[in-house]
Amino acid sequence: MGLVVCLCVATLDPGAVTAQPPVKLTFWSWRVEDKWAYDKMIQVFEQRNPGIQVEFVPFKQTEYNTILSSALTGGKGPDIIHLRAYGGLETFSAAGFVAPLDFDTVPELKTFSRQMLDGARGRKDGKLYGVPFASQTIVVYYNKKIFAQAGVSIPKSWDEFLSVCKTLKDKGVVPIANGAKEGWTLELMAGAVAPNFYGGTVFYDAVTSGHTSFKDPTYTNALARMLDLRPYMHPNFMGVDYATMQQLFLNEQAAMFMGGSWEIGFFKAQNKALDFDVFATPPLRGGQVPWVSSFNDGNYGINARTPSLDAALKFIRFTATREFGQMFTDMLAQTSAVPGVVITDPILKHVQEMNRKATPYMMLVGFRWQAPTGSTLLQSALQGMMAGQETPEQVGDEVTRGLSAWFEPFRGR
């Protein structure tokens, strides 16, 4: 019915005879904080491609997947989809919602690293479903001014880290801004703390191949280290959600913030006076180079049912250009997946250095292929652990048991 009305209006409009109406693409994402930058980059694209308009529509991160799934299932959804990577991508690509890409349609993809492209592949068919957009690393942000005032410096070992926290707490500052209300922020915290203690990629390979499970004391002891940090979080940390965590750090009420490298641009934009930098969570003993969790944060993909495939492809190719990648990194201070991008932001450069000893962010990379995902299981279990209701061993047990529903090597452990 609406279509008939539109056609009538279109034929009545004299302008429609001479000029083509612009093709409108919708672009959904979970990056609410980055909207301003995407709008600018889209402007560049629109100037070069008159006749195509792109609208960037972000959703709250915790609702995005459900909303996207519901929309795509209903045959609707955006033209350009900001997709997750690995298992998060598989959900949508395996269901046929995403248009596969290849080196012919998007030749720019040929230059991307294999590691990035792996996060854009469907596991079942090995096809590429998107243009990787960024890699993220989990780091510890710290307020340089507060550190200087308290007379502490970047800790090199775990014990040093705890004593830095204690000093900060004695000075009346909340040492660590993190909270537990939103499970995924706890998963981030685990991603910051645990790898040094479970041995990084060695353990990752062992557990993903099924040689060991999450019941392994190596892993549960690593999780237990998070309990050491409880006294140094806000007294009501169980109720502290993501927004509040960020506020604590931005308002300089907290000295440190364990989170993803995507916060760099956001922190700078929200509080220009904030003097901060990053370091990697220190290992048990000083002198070792610490592990950091890292992952392909996602891809830009095309809705398989989009009516404007040509326009969408043009935009996708634009996102794979070095120009886009450079704008992305310059404006948002995130590591673009596009090769050859020069990082000028000093804090992001630190992240880049830390990434030399990167290990896959455990659950997101390795265990989100089917439900119940490792992330879902770990998140609620960690909430229980931080609340003092579960032991790390119980966490490991719960995660392994839940995963055994679809991850065969865990069956019978």
Binding site: V57, K60, A71, G74, K76, Y242
Partner: protein
């Protein structure tokens, strides 16, 4: 008698206390809407130092409040019209005609009062998809109309039944058609019931969040509850804008309520009381 006078001040205290519990949160919401975020943190209970009307302009423009408001109005009105038209017709037939299956049909409609339509959301979603009504206002209008029919039939049948029985025979002898009898004679007499049905459904439909959440994905079709949720998701660190958004979202219904409180109260509790 003495016991009574002792109770009175105590009773007044309790009632006043409850009023405080009800009103103070809303008052703080409105006051905070005029502050900036830092002031909200530092001076939550006081009056704003500067009355920042720009918070509201920001919400109006960036939250596209006018758009969501218009959508809510259109969908709510359309749903209520459908409910009243179809419900009155059905109520008239059920209330004034003897026929086999009358009771059964009446109970059938009534069963809808107890059944949670939400449990059928998956088939409803698939149905809307197959009818190509997903992401259109019709998905909402038809769903709301269907879920509002039980209460409409319940209330209107009762009212129609209560009208004098010889009313229509007189009209028929005069040669009027059934439709005219219905429209000119019967319908005007149940106007109070129509108002009750309208009010009873108005608030739940306006405030509904669940069906728009499932059916509507395009921004330009969102209703106020859904649109505001999306907006809050974007401005989750900007408390001043959040409070301004909350105030603005609450304003239409509260204003209407204060003006028409008696009708609202009667209408909204009609389902629980007989008539």
């Amino acid at each position: 008698m003495t016991k009574r006078t002792l109770w009175m001040p105590l009773g007044q205290l309790v009632l006043a206390l409850n009023s405080v519990v009800v009103l103070v949160p809303l008052l703080i919401m409105v006051l905070s809407a005029f502050k900036n975020t830092r002031e909200i943190f530092q001076n939550p209970f006081g009056l704003p130092v500067v009355w920042r009307w720009e918070n509201f302009t920001r919400v109006w423009v960036e939250a596209k409040f006018a758009l969501y408001f218009r959508n809510s109005v259109v969908i709510t009105l359309a749903s209520i019209v459908v409910i009243l038209v179809l419900g009155a017709m059905a109520g008239y037939a059920l209330g004034r005609f003897r026929f086999g299956g009358n009771d059964l049909l009446y109970l059938y409609f009534l069963s809808g009062l107890m059944l949670p339509l939400r449990l059928g959301i998956i088939p409803l979603f698939i149905l809307m998809r197959n009818l190509r009504l997903l992401d259109t206002p019709w998905a909402l209008i038809l769903t709301y109309a269907a879920s509002g029919l039980p209460s409409a039939v319940f209330i209107l049948t009762g009212f129609f039944r209560a009208l004098p029985s010889d009313l229509d025979s007189a009209a028929r002898i005069d040669g009027a058609s059934e439709w005219l009898i219905y429209r000119r004679v019967m319908l005007p007499l149940v106007r109070p019931a129509l108002i009750i049905v309208a009010v009873y459904n108005l608030i739940p439909i306006w405030n509904d969040f669940f069906f728009p959440l499932v059916f509507i994905h395009s921004d330009r079709l969102k209703t106020v509850p859904l649109g505001m949720t999306a907006f809050f998701g974007q401005y989750y660190t900007d408390w001043a804008t959040l409070f301004a958004g909350l105030t603005l979202a609450a304003l239409p219904v509260v204003a209407l309520y204060v003006l028409l409180s008696q009708h609202f109260i009667r209408g909204l509790t009609a389902g629980a009381l007989k008539g």
